[in-house]
Symmetry: D2
């Protein structure tokens, strides 16, 4: 049996490379040689704390769920891909049978198998087997790094769709981390008028480069006041991507009457004294977001056509030997890194 390298989170803050068996693709599966993996905040969180909410790392776990690679073998029955195809991997495989799967919201499938969510292994590894219909072919003009970053982009694209964004709407984005920037780029595809806030000037400068019409530093002034000055009358849609208490609370004030609030960031449970008087009086729609569904293909098309720029978002790269460095670096350099990738 062939062997391959795999990088495990052994326990909190301890990463270890091991040799394990190289998998074989089953019916309808392809074997993908991983070429690029983005480091996500959730990877860092598992690395630092060993858990996210109810998801607990109880045995060694391979992290990494933003990935792309090359098809090196195809299993029986595969028709849509062939050896040599370059693919982006949508990391959650749903059961395909429950009511959520059947209704088109497979992201809500309670039995979804999602990479790097305990106990499911992720992509910091040389090879993975994957169902062909969740491996999306990359056009020639896209790199593996861009393929990996389709994952965070999908959150942004999905969020704009769930918001029912229309051309030219007024959009506020709270937080300019990778998800905030992905949402910014998705909103700009709609020709939105976007104001975005953060407390980090480096990230805001990226936001400006990626098309933000207005950047607001919440550390050096009253963000709400600045939003309201910019959007006289409020924003049509407010995307919360920072996951903090003050930004989540602020959403009802930034939104216009009849507007929408989209909750992408994840603030700790029961910490937010939300203003339901605003929710009622403005008749807001407050919409939760859990990952994404049905947007991978279209996200790839948007990047391939130049509507969205993922290349600029990759600021640093590491090798598979350096996963621990990559995690540490990404954790400690939010003021100079946007997206860190690992290239096995």
């Amino acid at each position: 049996m062939d062997k391959m390298k795999a990088v495990y989170l052994e326990k909190v803050k301890e990463i270890k490379m091991k040799e394990i068996e190289k998998p074989t693709p089953g019916e309808g599966e392809v074997l993908v040689q991983i070429k690029s993996v983005g480091v996500c905040g959730s990877d860092i969180h598992y690395y630092n704390h060993g858990r996210i909410g109810d998801f607990i790392v109880e045995k060694p776990l391979i992290l990494g769920h933003e990935s792309a690679g090359k098809v090196v073998e195809v299993g029986p029955g595969v028709t849509s891909l062939k050896v040599g195809d370059r693919v982006a991997l949508e990391p959650g495989i749903p059961c395909r049978k429950c009511e959520h799967c059947k209704e088109g919201r497979y992201n809500l499938c309670p039995d979804i198998v999602f990479m790097a969510t305990p106990p499911v292994d992720g992509a910091f590894v040389e090879y993975v087997t994957f169902p062909e219909d969740f491996a999306f072919k990359l056009p020639d003009n896209m790199s593996y790094d861009e393929g990996a970053l389709i994952e965070p982009l999908s959150v942004g694209v999905y969020s704009t769709e769930r918001a029912g964004l229309k051309a030219g709407m007024k959009v506020a984005i709270l937080g300019a981390g990778p998800i905030g920037l992905a949402t910014l780029q998705a909103a700009k595809v709609y020709g939105a008028d976007v104001a975005i806030s953060d407390i980090n000037d480096f990230r805001l400068s990226y936001a400006e480069k990626l098309g933000a019409d207005k950047i607001i530093n919440a550390a050096t002034g009253d963000a709400l006041e600045k939003f309201n000055e910019y959007f006289n009358g409020g924003a049509d849609v407010v995307f919360e991507t920072a996951g903090t208490v003050p930004t989540t609370k602020m959403t009802t004030k930034v939104a216009k009457r009849g507007g929408k609030v989209v909750i992408i960031g994840l603030a700790p449970a029961d910490t937010i004294n939300y203003n339901f008087v605003d929710v009622s009086a403005k008749e807001l729609d407050v919409l939760g977001i859990f990952r994404y569904a049905n947007v991978y293909k279209r996200s790839i098309d948007l990047v391939s056509k130049g509507e969205i720029d993922l290349k600029s978002m990759v600021t640093h790269s590491f090798t598979l030997d350096q996963v621990q460095e990559a995690l540490e670096f990404a954790d400690k350099n939010k003021d100079k890194a946007i997206k860190v990738v690992v290239r096995p």
Copy 2:
């Protein structure tokens, strides 16, 4: 100039009948002799506190906004109504010009003139003038009391529409006051499977009579547990009508994955530690409700066709001389009154 009687809230807890000028209908208006006015919680709140949030009673105010009456005179240009017609009055007249009015959400019009909301006078009076297009003709088989109760019913009908209710869905209703019962009846029109909770057995018995499939007394047990037992997997839609902190908080637990929460009751601002982890993980839609729009006509049709029973909801009546008694009675007898009406 003719005179008429009008009942004013002079100051907190002080009601006074006066003689004032009888109004004359202008262009497109009708003069309506008021025949029935429902007492609403907001009337009682103004009576007890002189204000609701930012709306402050600064000069004597005529209360009452759930009303029906008879057309006794028509102004110039009126084509849809004639003297003798019996009408229900939709109490908010919007500006018809702002973006909200033009987009069909006239309930969000910032310049709406809404009966019994300071400084606009209401319906505890003998006559009012009204735009013909907000005075809806009652069929012969409906009484003035039923016409008055179209107002609270409209909140329920509108809420089910905003929730996008489909036939046979699982519906939880928190609170069985008049609005909870109106929402119950609207949901039952859709053949919904409805469980409803309250802390008052009298109200729950009404809920049962009006079609609730399951009643839950939250005072004598764990309401959440009972909802979850009944709706194995959660409710498709949760309507919060009680306006309390615990019921509002509970909404995220009662709703299923992918479900909707509709906020009708109004809890005090910034008092609710809402669970945004649930909002995200279940990808909930949390939808505010502010009054209603575009449902008066259809609500009348539903009552006229026997789909909804408003008659049973009127438990007590008073005369125009007795407005103060009516307010006091309604305030103090929630365990034996559902809806109190004043019949001028």
Copy 3:
């Protein structure tokens, strides 16, 4: 290997019973003993013509796709059903992988395997194996006949959902055959005000019994005129279920400005000079319907709760030996049969 009886359409107008191998349930499948099968217009059409459009009966085919039965064996991995459970079978099994399946419109899956659609066999047989997630458990208060009729009912329930029906809307239904009557019943769940037309008094009498507010005999008068008299200003939603040229053409005239037309019946291609001036000037939504998706469970609930009456729709029954008689009878007795079932 065990044997069982199966009834084949050998060629046009020739039905033959054969002994074939009894199937064995695979992974995730159950073995169902068929107890009731509804005869559908499509079965009759295959029997008479050997084809429907591009679907051609090229080798002997088992007809019947409206079915219910008893679970007599469960395959490996089955968790939701057990031996003895009574189930209704949703007859189309989609690929679960294409974009339509993932987006929740699995009825549009190009690779769907649908009972009694060549070359896929149907339910005029003693046993079938079926994926557990398309076999829906029947409550104790429902019969197998009712279980079989969930199939045509699903078309009606799905159509009302696709129309976005709201409580109390004005609904016109063209055609009072089984699908027209199923749509009528689904619309009545919403408290709709329904007028229905047909050329057959027997069917119209059924419509009346099942709740139609107005019946219109199109053979003895001008149906359009009668619809317009009844719905002063037009219907909110028009359901075309007859599949004829004049009824399809009439839809634009019966609908109100801003209304919806739902095309359920199937008129021959390119035979309908449709009035696109009406489509534009009234800004209609004309919505095609292809079978249904995601409504089986809710349809069962509605019948179980008494919101919909399927029992009355079964007018005649035959045995498995009598499939040919059943087909002939159903074909020739539209003036005295609503739904014919075969009970193996």
Copy 4:
């Protein structure tokens, strides 16, 4: 009383300038000095035929409904505009009272007063009075010509909204006249992948310049085949803007399963043998478009922000003395003119 010039269509093919009374703005109205008026196909049709369908020119009529100008006087109660403001005029003033107006679809108002639709006069005139809320302020970076062309652009923007366009969708547009090009530009705001067909190379070259991803000359090849080659599997949305029989019929073939067809062009009534088998089997949404509602402001924003290019669409201009020449020129030079404007 002051006088002003007005250009009347006296009868078919006869244009005459007259001196008439200059109007005075009433309550809530502004007096606008017209600076630019686009010539629309409907103007040419009235000029050539004296009627469009049921709208008949029975007395001299001022044509022109795509207009912009300068506010030179404000009536009592006007608050949103002042003398000197430059405005684009949304040409249809609805009744504000009917169900369509209240529901946000004021374009369907049966009592709408629409410029240059008999018997309502239009904009080939020096001054018009206009309700302030239908006169939209132009930003400094927009010309009067651009202001006038907001009208046809609004049709495109509205159509993309009614289609529920999402970022990066596949869009087919049939017809590259001014409305086809406006729809193209609106679709490109959404990052759509657009293929557009016409029989006129000049128009197609414009389409290419304005961002079309693929142009198809239907005169020199099989347009359907070329669309299907380009959109392997069909288009998500098909916009019919040509108003011809073959393009309207082709829509069901160009759309994908589950796709949408938007009918903007107006083919003569009852001339189109539409393929309802496709409508059903693909479960299409066929959506009529009647003018537009609630998009003027956002359309102006999109032009002002450079998302849409109206300047390039103005190819020729005339003076108020030359209205007849303008109409004749526009009618006869579809191979070299896109949009002709009259500048009073």
